[in-house]
Amino acid sequence: MTLIAESGYEFWNPIIWLITFAVVMVIVYFFRKRGVEKYKKGEDQTKIFLCGEEVPGAEQRQVRGGNVYWGFFETLKEYYDGIVRLHTGIVNDYVVWFVAVMAISAIILLIVKLVG
């Protein structure tokens, strides 16, 4: 079957995957259908409830991109402090890294030649 990208142990066929996915979706829909239908559009049921307080406007409700994953960055603060300090944005430092990579790989190759 040409649709299979074989790779040693497993195979990957998106068509079979899609069929399986569709079957699972049908089953899920079946279970969902058996639930209780109480949802009505346009009533108080669908409005935002904030402990009776007045709901702020869209600008205030929006979670800003910079605030997403706050805890993740807080946990990895040390890693990020170190890694951001390396990204100086100065063009001279870019050349430094280039020369450093050249030097390190040259040393590695030299050691390999001397040892082997």
Binding site: T88, I90, N92, V95, V99
Partner: protein
Amino acid sequence: MIETLIRNFPLVAAVVLMGIGLYILIFKRNLIKIVMGITILSSSVNLFLVTLGYRTGGIAPIYTDAPEGLMVLPVVQALTLTNIVIAVATSALILSLVIRIYRHTGSLDSKKSRRMKG
């Protein structure tokens, strides 16, 4: 040892020039000096290439009224010429960018022209 060094003096000079060019690129923060560093780097490669084709006592590889004798290798000279042309284009472009950066930021310091970082 010394004799080899003297015989290969142009090659040594090319490597020294390359070191100077990289030094400027690494340690000099002035944008115009960075352009100079690139030009020096380019010259070092040119010197290296031309030296490769040199034969002791060789003459220019032009047949017009050429005397008898060895000619130097013309291929590397063609390569050098191409590199010179490219270097002219690069430095013209880079200088115009430097002028524009100066217009926007009012500074020629590479430490100050970093709106983008992190």
